[in-house]
Point group: C2
Chain length 216, copies 2
């Protein structure tokens, strides 16, 4: 079913949802090509007719894989999980799988959409405090949940999709000046994960389209 | 692993995410109890300390099942899918599964969060036009995708989680005065699905907490 052509990730270095997919590719040890979609230059390359054919939502990431194009990072990652070998990204236990998905969805539906570029553009001048408010609110909910589910990683002792979602969201939280020190479990998990190779090589500071000024 | 106690759905008749879970229970033929969480009365029962222990995000739904409490409708539905018999809610083909999840996430991360109660409360007076804008934008993206993936249902010829997400989102679109006539595939799918028993019995117009004024 899976063909041998390399997947192509259409993404942007600083997009947290693109980063999620880069982490998944790295954890699975999958080789892929990157096409840069600059979200800010000239009003954003994601609004062109060419890109809208790949993803009508005009967002990154979009991934071309196995002769189809998928958008939505969690759908992409679960497709990789179901079709590629390598370390599993969801636990084998159904209850733990449910906890992983709950944590992913708190981030992917409850926090990230509210600081997405096309949303904060509409907010205008108050976009920094808007994004800060909703990330703060989300982390206040996530912290007690992670305190219950976490071992070394977000859910127990295996890296999962929950970790893949957490680290890019913490990166965004810091951009929007949320004090991570308020959330000891989130802070500890993030520090642990940032030391793992798959999270390092996929980091926004070292992508092909990372501007020199923000390179690590 | 699954115990014999009935699941308990903490929800609200008009919450689109609660409706998703009600549809899934109905499709699976699962009996469950409902606890009403009135999102508007006295500032909202979801902000009480008692409810925050069930779901720190202060949102519905939350489901108590198999001695744990889960929030996030898609995580709940996938847990039901993985642990309960009955018609499957995800196709067997991985590519079709990916399409189903992509459609779910466009709705659950790209559209619904932007018309969620705690978000539009913060928008204030312009909340109607705000919600209308983001649902319109989302449906403009969803229509061409569904045109490619749909058969009788959102993806092919089997009801899936994508259908479970679509119908409550169309209901919200109508509340916020989006003209569904612009989207012939969405309109056709919605009409087909509303004739199916599981979508009828779970409809906001006929729940235990539906006010008399909006009952069907």
């Amino acid at each position: 079913m899976a063909n041998t052509a390399k997947p192509v990730l259409h993404g942007y270095f600083r997009s947290s949802c693109s980063w999620r997919v880069r982490i998944a590719f790295a954890l699975k040890g999958m080789d892929y090509d990157q096409v840069n979609v600059n979200l800010v230059k000239d009003g954003g390359q994601q609004v062109t007719d060419q890109y809208k054919r790949l993803n009508p939502m005009q967002q990154v990431p979009a991934v071309t894989i196995d002769d189809m194009t998928l958008s939505q990072s969690l759908a992409i990652i679960q497709y990789i999980e179901e079709t590629r070998p390598g370390p599993r990204l969801l636990p084998s236990d159904p209850k733990q799988r449910a906890q992983v998905r709950m944590i992913c969805d708190i981030i992917a539906s409850g926090i990230q959409p509210l600081q997405n570029l096309y949303v904060i553009k509409k907010i205008g001048a108050e976009k920094e405090s808007w994004a800060n408010h909703f990330i703060q609110r989300g982390f206040e909910a996530l912290e007690p949940i992670l305190k219950q589910t976490a071992g070394v990683y977000c859910v127990g002792e295996e890296i999962s999709m929950a970790d893949i979602c957490l680290v890019p969201q913490v990166y965004n939280a810091e951009r929007f000046k949320v004090d991570i020190g308020q959330f000891p479990t989130i802070k500890r998990l993030n520090q642990t994960l940032l030391n793992i190779e798959a999270f390092k090589v996929s980091h926004p500071s070292c992508q092909p389209d990372t501007p020199a000024a923000v390179q690590a």
